[in-house]
């Protein structure tokens, strides 16, 4: 591993079965301290990449290395030890619905440390203060808006000051204000904690404001990569279509179908 790279994905292929290949020959490096986005349309394999990095699934071939350790070769203890250094923000927060905001953020501290409860209280309030929700620590997840839930989940993800923070669609379903808040928090927290962040998203405008580098994934392969400025200036048809939100292009509007005229003359057969 290059010492500057926290995560290295080396020629990774992944398939659920012989008919469903999700990722093909993926090579990727995530340098220490950077915020890197993995972008692409829905179902292109972005979240699968996060699951491979977190060791929730194993690659069919190739290797994912995090902090020099090959994730899929780790035994359960080793994998859990590595995960303690990772934080993950799930698409809709995945807060524990039977626990208050405070208990959600305190969860990992209580599970993995022997810190006294007074210290846990201070730490939790500091994490919540960082995401602007110290005053909401008594609320239950059902009492939070989508944006607030995402911020609590972010506070929970950074509870143990992880070296790597992964975000799965952090902007999905948020109003413009929450969108900006979450975007800024991702950048600020990454720099303040000295962490490395991987952002899986299809929200191009918001992510280009905060990321250092972007990988574009389409149909399981990396089709483009570059800095935010390079992506904005790119003339590649796929990137151009994605950045400008054009309905048709290399990613077709129409789902593959038989010839239109033949289909319409199909005598009412569906």
């Amino acid at each position: 591993m290059t010492s500057a790279n926290l995560v290295e994905i080396d020629n990774v292929n992944f398939a659920y079965d012989s008919q469903r290949t999700i990722l093909r020959g993926i090579n990727m490096t995530i340098p220490q301290g950077k915020v890197v986005a993995i972008m692409g349309g829905s179902g292109c394999g972005k979240t699968t990449l996060l699951r491979l990095i977190g060791g929730q699934i194993k690659p069919t071939s190739g290797a994912v290395r995090v902090a020099g350790q090959t994730v899929h070769e780790l035994k359960e203890d080793g994998l859990y030890a590595l995960r303690r250094k990772m934080g993950m923000l799930f698409q809709f927060g995945a807060l524990f619905t039977d626990m208050s905001v405070f208990d959600n953020v305190a969860f990992q501290m209580r599970e993995h440390t022997d810190l006294p409860e007074e210290m846990i209280r201070d730490l939790v309030l500091m994490k919540l203060h960082a995401v602007g929700l110290r005053g909401a620590h008594r609320l239950m997840p059902s009492e939070l808006s989508g944006g607030m839930a995402r911020r609590v989940a972010l506070a929970r993800a950074i509870a143990l000051d992880p070296m790597l923070i992964m975000y799965d669609e952090p902007f999905a379903g948020l109003d413009p204000i929450s969108l900006g808040v979450i975007g800024q928090l991702i950048r600020t927290l990454n720099d303040a904690l000295g962490a490395t962040s991987i952002l899986v998203t299809h929200d191009i405008m918001e992510s280009l404001k905060i990321v250092d580098y972007v990988y574009f994934v389409s149909e399981g392969v990396i089709v483009a990569e570059g800095t935010a400025d390079e992506i904005r200036a790119s003339k590649m048809p796929f990137v151009h279509q994605f950045v400008n939100g054009e309905p048709d292009g290399p990613v077709p509007f129409q789902y593959p179908a038989p010839d239109y005229a033949t289909d319409l003359q199909g005598n009412g057969r569906a």
């Binding site: 929730q56 993950m88 995945a94």
Partner: protein, 267 residues
């Protein structure tokens, strides 16, 4: 040719279902083994298990107690009707007590437990899976089988015999109210015959063993169905239904097997 095609297709479907069924049984066995392996947390941090005992056991008390009372009252009525034909209505206490501690207590309380607590356990774990709470836990280096499943499993196993005992006790009170207070069976005979005829090892211990086995079966089915549920609304709903149906069938089948072993050669 069409018949052959239908036959082949039918055989293929049957084969697929058999393979799927065997695979699921294998998965359930491995899951059970994993639950036992990771049970340390449930005992080391016993407050987690106590919390689940409250949700599965204490909150099931009302339905168990009320049902027990009514079942005992019905036994009192039906029992008196039959016994008085043979002039042995004093044996009502024995009939009520033996019916309850040997059979009705463990079986009905387990059926009620499956419907009340088992379905709730499945729905809760299934929804935790659907909303990625279990994945989040895994990513936080916390094993969901140790933290979520094992405390619920042991809480169910511990609650079941206690609930069955409460059910039987309430049933006896129900039988007493109807037989002695309402119909007028002799109170002394009711209690003394019960005391002399109910054997601790043969009747009470066997009843406790039954309810313990039912507790293992129902709770295992509940946690497994929740953990294995498809992460969709339809998946959780199907899993909840399967919990109630499979648990009920398992209770009745196990009851027959246990009764056959326990009362072999008695009488």
């Amino acid at each position: 040719m069409a018949v052959l095609d239908t036959l082949t297709s039918g055989l293929r479907t049957l084969g697929h279902k058999v393979i799927e069924g065997v695979w699921r049984i294998g998965f359930a066995a491995r899951f059970f083994f994993a639950v036992l392996m990771y049970s340390g947390t449930a005992f080391r941090r016993f407050n987690l298990t106590i919390r689940e005992i409250y949700f599965t056991g204490v909150l099931s008390l009302i339905i168990i107690l009320i049902s027990g009372l009514f079942v005992g009252m019905v036994l009192g009525l039906q029992g008196y009707d039959t016994l008085q034909r043979y002039g042995s209505s004093e044996a009502l206490g024995v009939l009520v007590a033996l019916s309850l501690v040997r059979e009705l207590g463990p079986v009905i309380s387990a059926l009620l437990f499956a419907s009340r607590a088992g379905s709730a356990i499945t729905a809760e774990i299934g929804l935790m899976k659907t909303t990625e709470q279990l994945s989040a836990m895994e990513m936080m280096a916390v094993n969901p089988i140790a933290r979520v499943v094992a405390p619920r499993f042991w809480a169910g196993v511990m609650s079941m015999p206690l609930l069955a005992a409460m059910f039987s006790a309430m049933g006896v009170i129900g039988g007493y109210l109807v037989g002695v207070k309402l119909i007028g069976v002799d109170e002394g005979a009711f209690w003394s015959q019960m005391q002399s005829s109910v054997d601790v090892r043969l009747d009470i211990v066997n009843g406790v063993i039954k309810s313990f086995v039912f507790g293992i079966a129902v709770t295992l089915i509940s946690v497994f169905e929740g953990y294995d549920a498809d992460p969709t609304a339809e998946g959780v709903s199907g899993a909840t239904t399967r919990t109630v149906v499979t648990s009920s069938l398992a209770i009745l089948a196990l009851d027959f097997i246990l009764t056959a072993f326990m009362f072999r050669g008695v009488g």
